[in-house]
Symmetry: C2
Subunit: 343 residues, 2 copies
């Protein structure tokens, strides 16, 4: 099939660019030094590509992601880097321990107690290193690890996600700030023990020579927000749209905000890629539920022409699609299910 025959909106992944990104990251952080985060793509077929690149440990954000990875045979070492307290969800995780190694983040006596009651075997202490989200205080980490061990669970180490630094375009400042976060994480690790010190993401992976693993995810497909950092990864994913209306003042394509995440601002319309006169790209006026209204930069497209739209934030964009189409040039090679959606 040709990419231009796909009904739209269509989520498209360029296989060569994806493989480029995977190779670059695997060279920088081979094997267990990278714990790819599946929340960025929610796709076991893509995770399988990461596994073929030598990574057998993965990071997950939801129970569904853990269970889906286990079912797909990718359960060698799954870290659920998130706090879970609902008995049903914890019970499902505990049951999946028969087929997968599962490690759950805990950051409080309550989360330790919930995990222990459900029969989770392994946990890791989530430490707040500057991002106001989950994670215990550094000085509480040892006590939480002791509680977990007293309840019979193995404590594998610590994690601390410096998400507040991820998009810092002053890379020198970013590098220095990351070290302060790692200092905090290592102080917690001193009190916790174990073999895992997990941190980082696509924006900071280059500054993490003092942790055992990095949890990057967005590097595989990228988005326009991460592109601002000048990282060595290519934009490997976009949403293909069709121009459905045009009037000489503006044009409208059938890709709206139900098909693209809006939390990092407007997605962008790529130049030189849509074929036909629409290939000049466009300036986005606004997105509505099912449409983007834009001003073409070159000649006005005709109805039926394709445009390609680059997401500003890849993770929630993937979560909006049921399938991704894997292409090389205009050839559609494969259809991948985005099978880890939901929670």
């Amino acid at each position: 099939m040709n990419v231009h025959d796909l009904p739209t909106p269509a989520l498209v992944i360029d296989r060569d660019l994806l493989h480029h990104n995977l190779r670059v990251m695997s060279a920088a952080r081979p094997g267990a030094a990278l714990r790819p985060h599946v929340k960025a793509h929610k796709c076991t077929a893509l995770a399988a590509e990461q596994a073929r690149g030598g990574h057998s440990s993965f990071t997950c954000a939801t129970t569904r992601e853990v269970l889906g990875m286990a079912t797909a045979g990718l359960g060698d070492d799954l870290l659920l880097a998130n706090e879970v307290v609902h008995p049903d969800l914890l019970g499902a995780l505990a049951a999946a321990q028969d087929t997968a190694r599962i490690t759950l983040a805990v950051d409080s006596p309550a989360t330790v107690e919930a995990a222990a009651r459900a029969g989770l075997r392994e946990v890791l202490v989530d430490v707040e290193v500057g991002l106001p989200r989950c994670g215990c205080r550094v000085e509480d980490a040892g006590r939480i690890a002791d509680l977990a061990r007293a309840r019979g669970m193995e404590v594998r180490g610590v994690m601390g996600y410096e998400g507040h630094l991820m998009m810092d375009e002053d890379r020198a400042h970013q590098a220095a700030e990351v070290q302060l976060c790692v200092d905090r994480l290592l102080r917690a690790y001193h009190d916790v023990g174990g073999e895992v010190v997990s941190a980082g993401g696509t924006g900071t992976y280059q500054f993490h020579d003092r942790v055992s693993e990095v949890q990057a995810g967005s590097y595989a497909l990228m988005d326009s927000d991460y592109a601002r950092l000048g990282l060595p990864f290519e934009q490997a994913c976009w949403v293909l749209g069709t121009v459905v209306s045009t009037n000489g003042q503006w044009a409208v394509a059938d890709v709206g905000l139900k098909a693209l995440a809006m939390d990092h601002g407007n997605p962008t319309i790529d130049a030189g890629t849509g074929g036909g006169s629409g290939g000049g790209g466009g300036d986005v006026w606004f997105f509505s539920d099912e449409h983007v209204t834009f001003a073409p930069r070159a000649a006005f497209p005709i109805v039926g022409e394709r445009i390609r739209i680059v997401p500003a934030h890849i993770d929630p964009t993937m979560a909006k699609h049921e399938v991704a189409w894997v292409v090389r040039g205009d050839e559609v090679l494969e259809q991948w299910a985005v099978d880890l959606r939901g929670w």
Copy 2:
């Protein structure tokens, strides 16, 4: 089941408040005077409630919505108020004409030609009345209708959506501007003919005594953006979350931007509804993929407490969930599939 036993994030619909909203709208615009828009809820079970209220014609935004409504036996009169040009999608619509009455919006010779080629039987001319999106110019409407009739299709009338006026909080100004849009639409209708003049939405339905039908959708469940208009509808839908981490400075619940739309700004944390100390509501600091970080307004919640979060934009929020839980008070009455997701 009790609502507090639901795994979270959970999309919850209050049945009594929903029915209140449906009754108020059906009283204002009974029967065919309302063509409820299913894009706002993407749920055939909810559409069936609207049908029980006397409405047998519906508005859809995607091919999937049309096909799903037809399959659910709600296909008496389905308007796809959107332009479609892909042969596969048009072919699926044409095939569904055996079990449903389907009317497709057209706004150009190209969309007329695509519809005719696929075998669509009925169309309606989409007219641009001020919102820069789809729709032909008023002066082109008659020519497009003639083209459609020349290609053997029935032309049912016109539609024109004044989406740019929907959120105008100066209601007198809004009412006056709506009349100018209707003036334009009626000029087009003069040249097009047919029996349908379709316009409007939840924000403007009170000002539409010169059209045959209004396409409102959000009124059924509402959101915090529409609430600013002081409409006679109650907030009937929210996302239930669980506090998973808290430290005396902020609290974190397990409802992130993958479970709530962000295009109309931050959702809000409701006061007085979560049970326990979290019932005081909270000030949202930020949403990330799986979390909301907030400052509780009253006592700090404990881990495991529930909060409820009101979406700022209902349509794309519904599109993020597989199921909605229908409740009365704390009792879960039913589970509805959000079965019209996708495109």
